[in-house]
Amino acid sequence: MKTQLLRNWTRILISFGVTLVLTSTNFVFALEPGKAEVKFNYQYERPLALGEVSNKIYMVVPIYKSEHERMVAGKRKIESLRTALDIKMSNDQMIVKTDENKEIIRVKDERYRFKLYIPSGMVKFRDTRLYNELSDKDADRKVMTEDQARRWARNVLNKLISAKLIEEDQLLFDATRVSFRKERSAAGAQQGEKGKYAPSEMKLADVRVFVPRTINGLGVSGEGVNIVFDKSGRVAGLDLFWRDLRQERETLPLQLGMNDARNRFERSIKLPPGSQVNVIANDLVYFDPSKRDAVAFLEPAYIFVYVTRVPISDRRDEYRVSKVLHQIYPAVEHGREQIPSERKKRLQEIGKEYQMEHPEKAEPGKARENE
């Protein structure tokens, strides 16, 4: 009898304990709905050519520190690019113009344009005649194939390497991406007309080849060379997003692994149940914040590039879709401060200026309802 009673009590206590554990687990999940209910879809495949990530990281810093040095080096870079691409500009029509914020220098004539982002030393080149070319010109001519585009890009890159504008060992040619500009047309509808929509055949108008930059087996986020070829294979545009960098001698040990970074990333996402986070890329990279900003160094960091989809409550299978967002988690301890963005400061001032000039924004709705 006693044994039976003891068994029953034991059962009751065990089931109470299990209930308690389950309840507290639910409570924890309820506190973190993002962790429990949000679905993370990791879609990224690291380019094989990169190899294994080392646990010793070199810091990478810009060669040119002062604004003056960057400006001089940038102008020199434009000259080198002109020579490499064999661009002959008309001297009597050439304009060299620095914008009032000293962020951009433009060198252009009636056909060609070079745009230098002074803080980063990155350059955009456009043959405006080809780049703006009428899309229906040479309508019967086909654009080159992906393989042809890669070969033509290789030729252009070789010229840039010879001109010391880029370095061969920092090009990840195996990860080259090719895309196309596509064009189409269709007649509009007459009032009340339905069901005769007939768009033309899709045409390819140009081809774009992007070759990313790597340093020591890590991708440099935001850097690489993008080349636009017209139908005849002529260079219509070239983005030389390539800072002048040098690698420091000492290495720093990795302080963070991908698993820890991933946990931090997932914990940071606060979205309602049923949301999706599509992670386009998660990798250890050198992070370049912007072509419009100067930097003291490129942060070695885990980057998560992602899009969120949040269900719309009163609609089935429809979502609020975010722009492509990113978060970074520094991977080494270096104790350095990044240069604050001059441009961000300027934009904040513009925001304030418009806030002050237009009181309807200070009191939401009030001024507008009196319109």
Partner: protein, 290 residues
């Protein structure tokens, strides 16, 4: 003598006044207005916050002066950006587009920078501006059901639009398979008599300088089409991630092609396309869809 001088002075004053008046009239005739809305805080209507969404528009308006002839219409951020601002006044209960984003004399270019919407199975023939802040219990403005821009004469929808260019710097805003419904007059969609739509076939990155780059390109001599495609594409890590799209409306195929290739905000065409009928041309860089 005094009388003569006075008469002469009076004539000079009259002449100068006339010159000033004519100049002012000419300025008014050529001036264009920008109307811009953005949001970064999505805690109210749902969605991830967008840290750079309004920096993007701040950068744009800092460049607008360089174009010449463009002045401020509206700049509404956060809780001041209402879905009703885009909804058709004539057909949507509470719609205010004729007061704001399609208002005569205020909105020749109308810009949204923020979230958009997508479906599990795209194209589904519908897209929404997804606001961060709710107004009168509404968080979205939907095309084709409630957004019509630039309508005039006998188009319907109040015939009281003015807009020429629409920028939707948001996800899935111009999926190629649903342009007919969302943008073209088959919906009828956004472009009733607006000349061009500048948007995205996929999700663009949360850049803080895309719209600034767009205006800089126009200032440098590009057509709207080239300027948008150039500014819209962004190469990030191993690939170029954005698929910028330009849709142009014209009275017929030839007019549509001409506008598509040559129209520029440096000197916008004064003549609007046809409201119904007409022709559309579109171009996009295909770096993937939604």
């Amino acid at each position: 003598m005094k009388i003569n001088l006075a008469t002469k002075n009076f004539s000079v004053v009259r002449l100068l006044s006339s010159v000033v008046l004519i100049s002012l009239l000419a300025y008014d005739a050529s001036a264009r207005e920008w109307a811009v809305e953005c949001d970064e805080d999505y805690s109210q209507c749902g969605g991830s916050n967008l840290p750079n969404s309004c920096d993007n528009t701040d950068g744009m308006i800092s460049e607008m002066n360089s174009l010449g002839g463009w002045v401020q219409g509206w700049y509404f951020k956060g809780s001041n950006a209402w879905p009703q601002d885009w909804q058709e006044t004539a057909t949507v209960n509470g719609g205010l587009d004729s007061s704001y984003m399609d208002k005569v004399g205020k909105a020749d270019i109308s810009v949204w920078s923020g979230h958009g919407t997508g479906a599990t199975n795209e194209p589904n023939g519908s897209w929404d501006i997804a606001m961060g802040h709710r107004h009168n219990d509404v968080c979205n403005a939907t095309s084709p059901s409630s957004i019509k821009m630039g309508e005039q004469t006998n188009d319907g929808f109040g015939n009281d639009g003015d807009n020429e260019y629409v920028v939707m710097d948001a996800s899935c805003s111009a999926i190629e398979g649903e342009l007919a419904q969302v943008w073209q007059n088959w919906g009828p969609g956004i472009l009733m008599r607006s000349h061009q739509g500048l948007a995205f076939h996929n999700s663009p990155d949360d850049a803080d300088d895309r719209l600034e780059e767009f205006i800089e390109n126009i200032d440098d001599g590009d057509s709207n089409r080239s300027a948008w495609l150039d500014a819209g594409e962004n190469c990030f890590l191993w690939w170029c991630s954005n698929s910028p799209m330009v849709i142009t409306f014209g009275a017929n195929s030839s007019d549509s092609s001409d506008r598509h290739n040559n129209e520029t905000m440096r000197s916008p065409r004064a003549d609007p396309p046809s409201g119904w009928d007409g022709h559309y041309h579109w171009s996009f860089i295909d770096n993937g869809s939604c």
